[in-house]
């Protein structure tokens, strides 16, 4: 019983936006959108990046002030001047970048801003601890309330966020791409929690780029496009193709570029022998030839991230050999890896991939500055031409001189790609290449990667989205417990990959 149709006698909406409009500068972000969520339902919100989802959710949670339109809570018009107002009204936004204090403990975070005070206004930590433990265990999460958030996994942090919402007795829970950083197993656990909350009568707004998920868990789905409402439908009976068509107007098979017959010449460009980097990587060997896109699949925490981090020079493994373009490369230096033609697109573009406050120009040319300068002076005309070419190659729309935080997620990711492609590296490593990127931009990124490979490059990537790995890669290496458990062809199914990832043996 995954799909509930909306019952004929549906309860009235808890939270509603009527004809919401919002401009940012000259650009319209939302052009007259109405949206509502009812108790006991999961209402999915989809659309490409820049479609207006964040703005809509921002209005509902008090982060954004609409230019026009009305927010109604229990049928009564309300105005949320700031996030606090919405939160006090029982609306809790679970941010994509989880809004928790890393240096504080779980209980401190759960009660942040709403600490329980006992007599004389002194805080009652033991009561807070007790309640935190109770809520967490009701969510099926075994997390010690005294643990520091920095030591928790992303999935655990999400549970802490949800616990926060429940402690505050929120009636509306808004989740912004909650599964983006989760492994499939963790995502399933999250869905179980969400289903329980729905059964308890919570209203849940669920934003995701993963359409299969939405079909699996949501009751209704609303599609936005270019700031306008495409429509709202009950999920039952819909397929991912229906959704994709409504979002972008093209079916899903067009998402992935065509694979070409690879001529596997004897010379691999990237070769690793017996890489050991405890505790996560315990002996990995692989080789990739020119023109190949190879994917690392596996459950979260089995070593995929660390393999890439070693190759990127971020981690120094305790053993293993690396050869790039036939030449041995020592580990442990990002600068050296780049000099040997190994470029790395990290998972979190906001903290590792880009300097958000700086311009596209500045970001794109950063790793290539030494080629663009003379005696240490940057030749600005050359720099600009270089950046223009780099950006054109990935088709980023927007000014070169505007700070990148003004770009949508998809365009930001393309700027990161432009930055590394422009270094003329032959080996491209990517961790979650399309995290938080809309369908349209995903297709463009896949096409870019394929074009890079067709030009003789080698791509090694890891992603939590199996569909992506299977659709894009020529080969899938399944990582399990720090070793390559199996190599599967691109024709493998999700089930086959999962079987190896969970049991270590082919199904």
């Amino acid at each position: 019983m995954t799909n509930h149709g909306v019952p004929a006698e549906s309860p009235p909406a808890i939270l509603e936006l009527r004809d919401g409009r919002k401009h940012f500068g000259g650009t319209p972000a939302l052009r007259g959108v109405s949206f509502d969520v009812r108790p006991g339902e999961i209402h999915a919100l989809v659309g490409e990046n820049g479609a207006g989802k964040s703005t809509l959710v921002g209005i509902l949670s008090g982060v954004v002030q609409p230019d026009a339109g009305q927010v109604r809570l229990d049928g009564q018009p309300v105005r949320f001047a700031e996030p606090l107002d919405a939160r006090r009204s029982g609306i809790h936004l679970v941010h994509q970048e989880l809004a928790l204090l890393a240096e504080s403990t779980v209980v401190e975070n759960v009660f942040l801003g709403s600490e329980l005070a006992g007599r004389w206004g002194f805080l009652d930590w033991s009561e807070m601890r007790r309640r935190t433990a109770a809520v967490l265990s009701s969510l099926g999460a075994r997390i010690d309330p005294e643990r520091r958030v920095a030591s928790l996994s992303v999935a655990e942090r999400q549970m802490v966020e949800i616990a926060r919402a429940l402690i505050a007795d929120s009636r509306v829970l808004i989740l912004d791409e909650p599964t983006a950083p989760l492994s499939p197993l963790e995502a399933q656990q999250l869905f179980n929690v969400l289903r329980r909350l729905r059964a308890e009568g919570k209203a849940i707004v669920y934003i995701s780029h993963r359409l299969e998920e939405i079909l699996a868990i949501a009751d209704r789905v609303t599609v936005l496009k270019d700031g306008e409402l495409v429509g709202s439908w009950p999920v039952s009976g819909l397929t991912t193709d229906d959704l994709v068509r409504r979002m972008v107007g093209r079916p899903i098979e067009d998402l992935f570029p065509e694979r070409h017959q690879i001529l596997r010449s004897g010379e691999p460009i990237l070769e690793i022998v017996d890489l050991v980097d405890p505790p996560r990587v315990l002996g990995v060997s692989l080789s990739i030839g020119p023109g190949e896109i190879v994917g690392l699949a596996g459950l979260e925490g089995h070593g995929q991230d660390e393999i890439l981090a070693c190759l990127a020079g971020e981690r120094a493994p305790s053993r293993g050999q690396l050869r790039a373009n036939g030449r041995p490369v020592p580990w442990g230096s990002t600068v050296r890896m780049l000099a040997h033609g190994i470029a790395f697109v990290p998972e979190d573009r906001k903290t590792k991939g880009l300097l958000l406050e700086r311009s596209t120009l500045w970001n794109v040319t950063l790793p290539s500055l030494r080629y663009l300068s003379f005696l240490g002076w940057v030749r600005s005309q050359l720099e600009r031409t270089f950046a223009e070419h780099a950006v054109q190659a990935v088709d980023v729309r927007g000014s070169l001189d505007a700070p990148v935080h003004a770009l949508s997620g998809g365009n930001q990711q393309k700027v990161v790609l432009a930055k590394w492609l422009a270094t003329r590296s032959r080996i491209l490593l990517l961790n979650q290449p399309t995290r938080g990127v809309d369908v349209g931009a995903k297709a463009e990124i896949y096409a870019l990667l394929r074009r890079f490979a067709d030009g003789g490059g080698a791509v090694l990537l890891t992603s939590r989205e199996l569909v992506e790995l299977l659709g894009l890669c020529d080969r899938i290496l399944v990582v399990r417990r720090g070793r390559i458990a199996a190599e599967l062809p691109s024709t493998a199914t999700e089930e086959e990959v999962m079987a190896v990832a969970t049991t270590g043996e082919a199904a």
Partner: protein
């Protein structure tokens, strides 16, 4: 906590190196000398907790010390109240500046200069007079410094505020991540204001104590407190970027800085080496935990690698 190790080391060196160290007279002397630093560092801890830095504490202490000493002969006891109002105004000025989005370093750098400048308008050399009763606060009753219980009270109060009052959580949250704090309904600006007011008040108390101990208003007396207070907080193990502080650490850190010159003097180390040692102590405090963590990690990796190899 490296500061505990340092303090223990200092005490050991003092006790072994000089027969005059472990005497009640000497210890009481150090305790008295470290009082203003303890007070200022306690206040500084709040500012650092909310990701700030208060460079004006030294000037503020000077302001209070000189103001009280200068005004007392004219107006009598209200001079003390005047001093406090002055300290509070510095805190409010800093707090509002930071609340308005200005960089704490710059705001307090400005107020450091302004306050010192104001002091020089009425006092360019030590002078004035403090009430006898106040001077007694800086003295001893038997072997015990009178100010000791006051300092313990202030530090205890500070600990209670940070841990057991909502405003303490708000300050820590503000320093941990201002965005997260704001989204959690914490009034970030107010937390910053409170932190700076607490810091200035503590600096004011320190100024009062300095005036009491020297029985005069010296227009330069607070100067070393600014950097020493930051050093004491860092030495204690608080994170300079905010969000996680330890008051116990600050107290221990202050004692380290208090005992350092004393131990060096008694063991016959020349004055000009003291700065050097202080600097080494500070860098050691920052490096030690990092070094320990690295060594531990390396050892574990080697162990894990051999496990893989032998399997």
């Amino acid at each position: 906590m490296p500061s505990v190790v340092f303090l223990g080391g200092l005490l050991a060196i003092g006790a072994l190196g000089s027969p005059n160290f472990a005497t009640t007279g000497n210890i009481a002397n150090v305790l008295t000398n470290v009082t203003p630093l303890l007070l200022v560092a306690t206040g500084q801890t709040f500012v650092i907790a909310c990701r700030g830095l208060d460079l004006s504490v030294g000037s503020t202490a000077t302001l209070v010390a000189t103001l009280v000493a200068t005004a007392y002969p004219v107006v009598g006891w209200p001079a003390v109240a005047l001093g406090f109002v002055a300290a509070l105004s510095v805190g409010v000025f800093n707090g509002f500046g930071v609340r308005a989005g200005l960089n704490p370093f710059l705001v307090t750098l400005a107020s450091l200069s302004i306050v010192q400048g104001v002091v020089f308008t009425y006092r360019t050399s030590p002078g004035g007079k403090v009430p006898e009763e106040l001077a007694a606060v800086a003295g001893l009753v038997g072997p015990v410094p009178v100010a000791l219980p006051i300092v313990v009270l202030v530090a205890g109060l500070a600990a209670v505020i940070l841990r057991w009052r909502a405003v303490g959580s708000a300050i820590l949250a503000t320093g941990g991540d201002p965005m997260v704090a704001r989204l959690s309904g914490i009034r970030v600006g107010r937390s910053q204001l409170v932190a700076f007011v607490i810091s200035a008040s503590a600096a004011g108390l320190a100024g009062l104590f300095l005036a009491a101990r020297t029985r005069t208003g010296d227009p330069l007396i607070g100067q070393p407190l600014t950097l020493d207070s930051i050093a004491a907080v860092v030495l204690g193990g608080s994170i300079l970027s905010g969000g996680r502080v330890t008051l116990v650490g600050t107290v221990v850190g202050s004692f380290c800085l208090g005992f350092l010159p004393n131990v060096l003097n008694l063991t016959g180390v020349a004055y000009f080496y003291q700065q050097l040692v202080k600097g080494l102590l500070l860098i050691g405090a920052v490096l030690l935990p990092v070094a320990v963590a690295r060594v531990r990690e390396r050892r574990e990796r080697v162990k894990a690698t051999t496990l893989v190899t032998t399997r």
